[in-house]
Symmetry: C2
Subunit: 239 residues, 2 copies
């Protein structure tokens, strides 16, 4: 495998994708890019990774994605796909092995509705540690987050399934997982105590072979996030 070290401004642009099925522009600790890497790994797609220094981007990266964010997928044909959810759905449709979204349109719509609701959880998960680092009172946000976790808990309890889409891991689980992997590191683990079924789901997710092969442990996330919230992220931490 090539170096995982992130590419910085001035580094030459990579050539076309030739030695794999697809390429992902990523950042090792980005939860949005992790969604796409989970889907790539779960589906057994042969891919290459180019990590980008998000605070000092190579100029050619903005030609790939003017928004400058990861993940971005690049195909053998040079097609570019941005946005974490769009990349995951693209991969699921393009590579038919091990479909992750349900085939049933209603069940798929249910996953998308849950995802829409979950976007509010993501916003809170960032808001709380940022507020804390500024010495603000974040108790109202923590209470709101607890309410959101309780709702997710109710979904699991109501469905009586091990995962959100049934008794095996499907797309919705992978799309939500990266923020639960970081719950402890973000300092938002306490509101989870009110959501025991959700905590059980987290334990099951950690046992999933794809999650195991993709995730970092809490200590690594904590070390990364400490520097990140200080404005000096070390994207090559541990390399």
């Amino acid at each position: 495998m090539a170096s995982q070290k992130c590419l910085v401004k001035g580094y030459p642009a990579p050539g076309p994708v030739t030695n794999s099925q697809i390429r992902i522009y990523s950042m090792r600790f980005c939860p949005f890019a992790e969604r796409t890497r989970l889907v790539l790994n779960a589906k057994g797609i042969k891919y290459e990774v180019i990590n980008i220094h998000l605070k000092n981007k190579p100029s050619w990266f903005l030609d790939k994605n003017p928004a400058g964010t990861v993940p971005v997928l690049e195909t053998v044909q040079g097609q570019l796909i941005c946005d974490s959810v769009i990349t995951c759905e693209y991969l699921d449709e393009m590579f038919q092995d091990k479909k992750l979204f349900p085939a049933d349109p209603f069940k798929k719509a249910q996953q998308k509705m849950l995802l829409e609701e979950f976007s509010k959880v993501i916003a809170l998960i960032y808001k709380i540690p940022i507020g804390k680092s500024k010495g603000e009172d974040t108790s109202a946000d923590e209470e709101e987050l607890k309410g959101k976790f309780i709702k997710l808990n109710e979904v699991l309890v109501g469905r009586k399934t091990k995962f959100f889409g049934g008794d095996s891991v499907t797309m919705i689980d992978y799309l939500m997982w990266p923020w639960f992997e970081r719950a402890d590191s973000f300092g938002v683990a306490r509101p989870l105590d009110a959501a025991p079924a959700l905590k059980e789901w987290m334990k099951r997710m950690v046992e999933d072979p794809t999650v195991k092969a993709t995730m970092f442990d809490s200590e690594t996330h904590k070390a990364f996030l400490k520097d990140y919230f200080d404005g000096k992220p070390n994207y090559d931490l541990g390399l």
Copy 2:
């Protein structure tokens, strides 16, 4: 056809869907609900409409969608689907006649990326008239909107097609149309002058039989929006 008048608090809950393929909870002037009605009409689906008084909702409507927004779809089996984009994609997958999203996963992803970008246009289209009604200087927002319109113009020019997904109307056109239908009524038509290809697209869209059968004219929108921005929307205007 049953009355289109909107249902208010205290009105009894409707029974299950029996006389059509699907039901939509809507509001006649809501651009988000119009997306779903455009897709229903374009695909020739037999549906029934229940319009909801969004300022004085029947309590049972919150059981259908706790967020209280339209559109909501209800199936013969009693399944409920919320969120305009999710409902449109559900309809396109459930009813196979006249597919509106491209079958090619990359072309579909392109439409979704454009839609993601368009969500910022929607935010500005509301921000400008609200700012104007408060006597604020909205010139910076209008400039930003002009830039967004120019970008959409470039997409059309670059693709050399009549519509955003090719030479016939596809999903992305219907998902963006409702706000262009209201551009004049929202007072944001001027920034369009910098986007001639986009204006040509608008002229073509007005000629589409589905758009023709679904839209209201500018005068009606203006009358509705005047009351709406005064906080007293007349959902039954013209009935």
